[in-house]
């Protein structure tokens, strides 16, 4: 009697635990798939909300330069232009320094006991909140850079790039701040790529009599190039979407200027400045701008992810 009772209990327990088990496995599956669904629903929701603006302005939105909430006419070109230019400045500064740092941290210039804390310090750069970079840039970087800008304007003002007097905030400050923020990404991923180059390649180069720098330029960098390019693309994605630091120092002007010292705007700073006070069609226009930014970063990130992935699989 007792024996059958406990057998029933065990069976019941077993069936309960197998139900729990199945529910558990299914729910982990659902949530994992949910991650992908989340990405698509972000795209879908932003596109849906942008609908009215897409219907009204079509593709003209991209190339039009008016942004007039009073008459409900919107175009995003100054902001798209500012996004591209500020990111380009950031890349021009950060790519050479980032790759040099990656070499510094992967070659044997220093004992690894010193290298690892240095690598950690540079990664810390990426963890500092962007609003803190913005605050620092307003009070430290701008006063530091304005005299340099003035000198360039006074002496090289005939070049369109330097054709306006710097008045504090401007495109060039935004570019510099963005370069500081993306440098750790380039350095970290390039370092990974360089470290994962097979030691045989290096030994072969050294065995053929190549110097350290011949080895680096003709063997190491080409072999690691797809990873390095992937890292640069990831950094570009970050620079395109970076909001706070850019908003705080770019000057937020709706004008396009050939001069780097002139104030500008990015899509992200447009959103940061206007979203909270917008209503009606303006919200939809802002959603449209967000959709463009989303599309832009998505392309860059997918390309980057594919390149970086290839490195990790090797």
């Amino acid at each position: 009697m007792q024996g059958t009772d406990s057998q029933v209990a065990i069976q019941r327990q077993a069936s309960v635990s197998s139900t729990v088990n199945v529910v558990f496995i299914r729910s982990t599956l659902v949530l994992a798939v949910g991650l992908g669904v989340l990405l698509f629903s972000i795209a879908a929701l932003v596109a849906y909300q942008a609908g009215p603006a897409i219907g009204k302005f079509g593709l003209n939105f991209i190339f039009s330069t008016t942004w007039n909430p009073v008459e409900n006419l919107y175009g995003a070109w100054p902001h798209i232009y500012g996004t591209l230019v500020s990111s380009a400045i950031a890349l021009i500064i950060a790519v050479p320094i980032g790759i040099a740092v990656a070499l510094f941290l992967s070659e044997d210039f220093l004992p690894s006991r010193v290298q690892q804390p240095l690598a950690f310090l540079i990664e810390l750069l990426a963890a500092i909140p962007s609003v803190v970079y913005g605050l620092w840039a307003i009070f430290v970087l701008i006063p530091l850079m304005t005299p340099m800008g003035n000198w360039l304007y006074a002496n090289l003002g005939w070049i369109p790039l330097f054709s306006t007097p710097p008045r504090g905030p401007g495109m060039y400050v935004a570019g510099v701040v963005l370069s500081i923020m993306i440098l750790p990404i380039i350095a970290a991923i390039s370092r990974d790529a360089l470290i994962s180059v097979s030691p045989d390649l290096r030994q072969a180069a050294v065995g053929l009599g190549a110097t350290r720098w011949e080895t680096i330029f003709k063997v190491m960098l080409p072999a690691a190039s797809s990873g390095i390019v992937g890292g640069i693309m990831l950094a570009l994605g970050r620079a395109l979407g970076e909001t706070m630091a850019a908003t705080m120092v770019i000057g937020n002007s709706n004008n396009i200027s050939s001069s780097l010292f002139a104030p500008g705007s990015t899509i992200a700073s447009l959103l940061a400045n206007q979203f909270a006070e917008a209503g009606g069609l303006q919200v939809s226009a802002l959603m449209y701008a967000a959709l463009i930014l989303f599309g832009l970063t998505l392309l860059v990130n997918i390309f980057a992810e594919l390149l970086v992935r290839r490195v990790r699989q090797v």
Binding site: S17, V20, N21, I25, S27, T28, L29, L31, A32, G34, L35, G36, L38, I42, L45, V46, Y48, Q49, I97, A100, V101, L103, F104, L105, F109, F120, I122, L124, L125, A127, I128, P129, S130, V131, V132, Y133, G134, L135, W136, F139, V140, R212, L234, L240, G241, T243, M244, M248, A268, L271, F275, A276, A290, L293, F294, L298, V300, N301, E305, R309
Partner: protein, 270 residues
Amino acid sequence: MTVLTFVAAGIALLPLIAVLSYVLIQGAGRLGPAVFTELPPPPLVKGGGFGNAFIGTLLTVGIASLFSVPFGIMAAVYLSEFARETKIASVIDFLTNVLSGVPSIVIGVFAYGIVVLTTGTYSVLAGGVALAVLMLPTIVRTAAEAMESVSNDIRQASVGLGATDFQTVSRVVLPAAAPSIVTGVMLAVARAAGETAPLIFTALFSQFWINWSQNGLLQPTATLSVLVFNFAIVPYKNQQQLAWSGSLVLVAFVLITSVISRLVVRRKSR
């Protein structure tokens, strides 16, 4: 050439040192118990603090963690335990990485569309939802990595004793991976606490304490990061100083979690 790389490393470290030292010098002056308990001062008035913003940050990040931690860890369990090396895991992995590259301001727009437009008000909840989406990829990635590094032997031992997958994961794998998962969550929390862009039009801002007697989580709130942003661009010295102190609190939080996570990872690899 060798000198050039040394110079580059120096240039790369310069902003870090400059930012840290400025935040410390400018922020430490105002820091004291009062800044955590008092409301932000009006322009030109001495004293005050960012008590409401501090609580707002705790609340938004708390709500975000409530959503993202269980979601992220469960998804990571699937990726690392049930679908490792499969096509679907690799696709989800890919999408998660792409999600982590979505600009935070776009995620703010998403949270605005899904919460603010639905409930009709800027709110703590909307800010929490935005931060949750931002935290998810980090949590998934660190949790999956932590579980993958758990030795297969103890899984086999557990299954050999007749344990179900659920028992194996919840009683063996998760406890073994817990320290790394916790540090991953802390890194995500530190990141989220410093995020500003998605909060300026979801949690918005408020000069006051949260009024619990009405609306609860469905009302705007100040957060530390938005306070830093707002007070950085005003011309008033007293508010600017508070922005520096707020930055110091945020940076200290990020630094401490980064160092702790580094120590945990190092102890594990030994």
